[in-house]
Amino acid sequence: MKIAMAGQPNSGKSTLFNQIAGYKTVTSNFPGKTVKYTETKVRFGGDILDIVDLPGTYSLTSFDLAELEARKYLLKKEATVVIDVVDASLLSRSLELTLQIAELETPIVLCLNMMDEAERKGVHIDSEALSRILGIPVVPAIAVKGKGIREVFQAAVTIGETQKLPNRIEYSKDVEQVVTELESVLEDECKKMNLPRRLLALKLLENDHYFMKCIETPTILEKVKECQKNLEISHGKPSDVVISSERHAMAMNIFEEVSTVTEPEISFRDHLDDLLMHRYVGYVALAMILYLFFNIVFGIGQFLESSILEFFDSFIPHLSAYFSGLPLSLVKGVVEGFEGGVGIVLPYLVPFLIGLAILEDIGYLPRIAFLMDTFLHRIGLHGKAIIPIILGYGCTVPAIMGTRILESERDRFITATLSTLIPCAARTTIILGLVAFFISPNAALAIYIFNLVVIVMLGLVLSRFMPEITPGLILEMPSYHVPSLKSIVLKTWLRVREFIYIAWPLLIGGSMVLNYLNYTGVDHYINQVLSPLTLLLGLPAAVGITLIFGILKKELTLVMLIQALGTSHILSVLTRTQILTFTVFVIFYVPCIATLGVLYKEFRFKKTIIIMAITMGLATLLSLIVRMMGIIIS
């Protein structure tokens, strides 16, 4: 049995999915974090269920790629049952989607999620009455707390077996008349598209561009236009407004029938927003939050890095008592690769990801989008673009996937290009582990600010080259949620696991390869090939090879640097300027292999090459500037 979870953005589909499937997909408190669907098999009772978590969609009309994915899936009608997940505090609006899903003529279960939130907002719902009106099972739940999960899936399994369809909700008489009239000519088209006639007729009356394109027969198209015109004349407004306002009214009526609304509890969360979203104070708060965030991550990381490295420093020399020659090189490679992971990457990565998870779950990211919209507008983007960019501080791959929430292709490309320049967690470990650790935390902060300035300037340049009016910001502000410990821990683990399973083995392997090359003297030739670059940047030739490893995984460069230079006391071999030049180069140059892969998937060959060229050019230029400034200052 196949069960699809559909619903409006941020209604908790992924949370519900994770509750039944184990933690398989990242959840956060902002609309549009799920951009592609996840599918999993789950044993439930005696059955094996195929559960699909779809991206959120406000209606069956789609505007961005994420919504399109959800709608395509629903229209294929592959699912035996659709679980419509609804944020109970937004019931009236959510019912408009429910009514549309019902038109698909598939069995539905309505999951009234976030019942606690609804009560707090003063919305009290009689779920039995709702179930009677819609003719579908309605199950209250609080997915974050694991309440009502079994009941939802139990209801889905039951209705999947009986295949009971939802009640047909009637529009007003004259609309129904036009619908029936149109339905009569659509028989062949519906067979071709495998869609219920009523649904297609309604969508065509709504002038939905996607469906309009599917109608090829001129006579039918003519009929559609005629019916649209009739509605427009009799109601005095465009036919799409006629249908949507009828649906709106139906949803309102149902909502009023099944719920009572009392005064919402005013809690400190409401006052919090007055502060965090304030036109001036909001920015001060934003700066303070980010400053604090940075310092906490660095503080924890520095403490762990220095004590772990100290341990390894005292331990590695003893290895030569047991090994010699090539084996010694290889064993040292393994130990140093292990050291790099546990001593340099994890101390910064883990606190960083925990912090990011907390900000995500509280619901602060869309607030940042609101605050930053003004500024992003100046570089030709709108506020929603900040969400992929912020995700970029975690990892560039989800950032690029996240650009799917943007409506225009141009915005997607510019935002993706800019997010490849954002220092991801891997590059953050380099900035913190190298610059902050060996120079000073303020120097590290300066690098972040420098990075932002470059991004803003590149944004300005790109939007000059691709002038187009962006669609403008339309973004829902979710309520603040108290983050759940479980969600934070699991989400951090899901992300750290990527490092442990994929990057760390690479790190250890790469470290062995480097030692082997070193032992055989091959690294010398590689460094010689790269010497024009290293010479230009004023770096020792030995760092050349680390830059190659950095394309695999950025954090490799730091670990390899320590190895290539033969000491973890970097300051004894590199000057401060050299450290800064190196770091700036590593931050900006060609994104890692995983990023290139996802860029290719999302934007194809040509644009990926363009991004590679831009980043490589920028990296060389900027690190050269840093070198020059270093010479001038000292």
């Binding site: 209606s59 505007f63 407004v241």
Partner: protein
Amino acid sequence: MTLDRINPGQKARVVEVLGGWGLRQKLNELGIAPNQVISVSNSSIWRGPILVRINSNEVALGRGVARKVVVEVIP
């Protein structure tokens, strides 16, 4: 009067959404449709976006978008 000129704290009733089919549908999905009573709860500096409250939820709209929503102020 258009929505971008409403002061924070003021209430208004939506009269019409100007602009094409896409914008009309998109705003309708979020509950900004004719006859709906909404209020502006915040507006940011430098002609940045405004925050609109519809029943119990909030939506951020860029100025350009807000300019396309025709409203009448409810005193």
